[in-house]
């Protein structure tokens, strides 16, 4: 086992552990903060795998924007300090499904690759990712951007009664 393997395993353990904490803690806002740890550990795994750009994109988008937005929304609505005992969520189906999917995927991957070694391609720097995205993957890239744009337009229409949402639907509860 090399140092890289150890590091990868340790980061994986941090990611899985904090992910479990996200869904099991009764502190609403702390769940969001555990999510930061989890996503940060995933970014660390990208770094260990020499995918520098992807790692920092992960930090910029997920930690810097998505989780912040999530925490913002939680604090704007209801964010008590301390445990929320009224959270209604039976744990065992989620544990069953999550554990089952995780184990199933792991078994599938282990079965598919066994002891095949895959030599890593050269480091995923910005230049290579840019070339790939704008040559062989340009169609998925464009489709994704159209999807995001339509989501954006949809959000604008839904939130503004004067152009889309009818007034009474906007006020219904």
């Amino acid at each position: 086992m090399t140092g890289v393997d150890v590091l990868l395993l340790a980061l994986g353990a941090v990611a899985v552990g904090s992910a479990v904490l996200v869904v099991s803690t009764r502190h609403l806002v702390r769940a969001g903060l555990y999510l930061v740890v989890c996503l940060g550990a995933v970014a660390g795994m990208y770094l260990v795998l020499a995918a520098e750009l992807v790692a920092w994109v992960q930090v910029l988008i997920y930690v810097g924007a998505v989780v912040v937005l999530l925490l913002f929304a939680v604090m704007l609505t209801r964010a008590p300090i301390g445990a929320s005992d009224d959270l209604d969520r039976p744990g065992w189906p989620a544990a069953l499904i999550g554990g089952g999917v995780g184990l199933g995927l792991a078994a599938l991957l282990v079965d598919a690759y066994r002891w095949t070694t895959v030599s890593l391609p050269e480091a995923g720097n910005a230049e290579r990712i840019g070339e790939q995205v704008f040559s062989s993957w340009v169609l998925p890239f464009e489709v994704l951007s159209v999807l995001l744009l339509s989501a954006l337009v949809g959000a604008v229409v839904l939130s503004r009664p004067d152009i889309g949402a009818t007034a009474d639907r906007g006020r219904s509860r």
């Binding site: 702390r30 520098e52 910029l60 810097g64 913002f72 300090i81 301390g82």
Partner: protein
Amino acid sequence: MPLWLELVIRIGGVLAAFLVLPLLVGQAEHKVMAHMQGRLGPMYAGGFHGWAQLIADGVKFVQKEDVTPRAADRPVFRLAPAVALVPYLLALLVIPLGPNDLVGQPLDIGLFFVLAVVGVGVLAVLMSAWASANKYSLLGGLRGAAQLLGYELPLVLAAASVAMAAGTLSLSGIVEAWQPWWLLWQAPAMVIFFVAGLAEIRRPPFDMPVADSELVFGYLTEYTGLRFAFLLLAEYVGIVVIAALTTVLFLGGWQGPFADAQLGWLWTLLKVAAVSFVIIWLRVSYPRLRADQLQRLCWLVLVPAALAQLVLTAAVRLAM
């Protein structure tokens, strides 16, 4: 030079900059604000023009009791100042001071790295705001988060424009590619980056999250002693980081009138000092923006202007 020695020197240099430059900016702020407002400012500590005032402040902060409110979420409350400070320390690590790798850690995607870690600072605002269990803190934190989320977009777009112009994401590479006429070509991006950067570090006129006349002191309200000092230090390191980034991206970094190779570090420091001066100047000159003015400026002025600048940059790049 053995590797470990080089590493120690580089990290030591960055740490020294991290500890000294914010104090210089703080001292300059005392003096500049005093002169601009026609008053004395702190004049006694240390004798000559109160030069030791910041040291006295530091000693005072260390002596104060470290209070954590009873209703607060202790671990989060106590962790927040560190989360505020570390991103700026990491950002300083990759900002080049001069040519030939005179930088803490040369990084191919330095620009991306800086933007990513500076973005993490928002978390500290939310953590300190929520964990304080104080309604003023929470209000300040919500204002802060709304502001930071909005202004991150023009910040990144303006930085993307200059990265596109230089054809690289490396901060040193951008300075090398920089030419004086970029001052004109990238001028809108520079203004956008600077204004969005001001908002990112919550300096006046974008200090609505800490608005002291409405919210006591926003998300900093419940902090005392050393933790408060760390949060304040984060603000001043933020000034240094934004000034340094503006310098490196838009003002040509170490490129000066003569002797770039030998005196590059001096030109960089001079430009950083000049930009920091402007940041202090703006604090004295402009009243605080209201919430709606703030969002309007961001979404209706800065974002469209940044997109237009991107188009302009692309057009000029293609034409060249």
